[in-house]
Amino acid sequence: MAVRIDYGRCISCGGCVALCPRGALQMKSFHLTLVSERCNDCRFCVNACPVGALWPGIPDYGEDYETF
């Protein structure tokens, strides 16, 4: 299960790229891309994104997520 990127929120800060242990996130110019096969859903990036633009692959947080 791979994370999902909310492009409406992502401001291309690059933080998640620096901490993804699997090299699954890459910044193509200013467009964040995910190589889904590499993502193991560790959620480091989901927790750390300063603006909440990354979502876990499994939507187990339900509607609470919508608040932020």
């Binding site: 401001i11 800060c13 690059g14 933080g15 790229v17 620096a18 901490l19 993804c20 242990p21 090299g23 890459q26 910044m27 193509k28 110019s29 200013f30 480091f44 989901v46 927790n47 750390a48 994104c49 300063p50 603006v51 909440g52 990354l54 979502w55 876990p56 947080y61 609470d64 997520y65 608040t67 932020f68």
Partner: protein, 388 residues
Amino acid sequence: MRHFDVLVAGAGPAGSQAARVIAEKGFSVALLEKRQEVGSPVRCAEGVSEKWLLKHTGVEEPWIEAEVRGALLRAPDGTKAVMHYSEKGYILDRARFDRDLAWKAADCGAFLLTRAAVTKVLPYEEFFIVRTDHPLHQEIRATLLILADGIESRLAAQLGVRTTLAPSDIEMCLQYTLEGAPHEEGMIEMAGGNEIAPGGYAWIFPKGGNRANVGLGLLGSRSRAGFNARFYLDRFVAGRFPDASVIRTVAGAVSASEPLEEVCGEGFMIAGDAARLANPLTGAGIGNALESGALAGETAVQALKAGKRDRDSLEPYKQKLMRSIGNTSKKFYRIKEPFVKFTDEDINNMIRIVSKIDPSRVTVAGILEAAFKENKAVLALIRKAFFS
């Protein structure tokens, strides 16, 4: 296909400084930047100590938005301590600063190319083949490479250098530039606390008049979905500046780690944030970026003059870098570890002790000593770091 003596990836302070040093000595250098305009969007709180500018760039009037004489430290319980700097600081207009540094490199002869992201670096015989997404320069050859591609660097990884940061070694930051945010002129403010910025701190940097950069950084390992930098910053701003308007939003990350072990290899060097050179405790990285860029540039010139590009010929870069900033950074890193575990009470105590010292005598070492007064092991570390 064009061939350059050196290709520099990334036109931040590190890359532009390196490119200028190389171009000034008459070698051919390409400076590639993925943004369409160097310096924008800004990803920084823009504070820098004058000493770095005097050493590397000089101080030019259009770069300076405010002068800083000291810092105000605020504890979670509201206790304040004041620190007067021994050397002047500035809040920069970094968009202008970064642009001017890159243009200066171009004035000296560097081939500056924007909207040119380096996508691939391939070692090939005695040079590198560099692929870019620029339609007119899809492939460039270069004898040496300087990777100055900032925090989201992936290029060093292509050459086998591990650059991934652990969540506990990165500060995830968000900052608003506010209009209508009254603050003390000439002072930066730093506020700590686990309800304010877990594992990091909030800052207020003056930008002239009632304008200020107000932001905070959260340790990646202490950030949670929903309780991320935006959550904490919105709360901080609502409490302190309820009437202010947001005129710019900046998100970014700063490493809070030791510098990379491998900052050079066969034909390449890594500079600035890409080498994880920002101060692990404060996040300050502009000065270190300038310094490392200059050192990488000088080392490249020496190697080219000797007609060499092997790892040993570039090793002086690592040695000089460690001597000038790397070793200090390593010491700060060891202090950071216990520091980020502080409770609010620890921070209150620390600032209370510092608040009793004459502001002109408060030093970073003094603040840390106050912080770890009960912890003999860390105290010994601090004394070793600052006084040996």
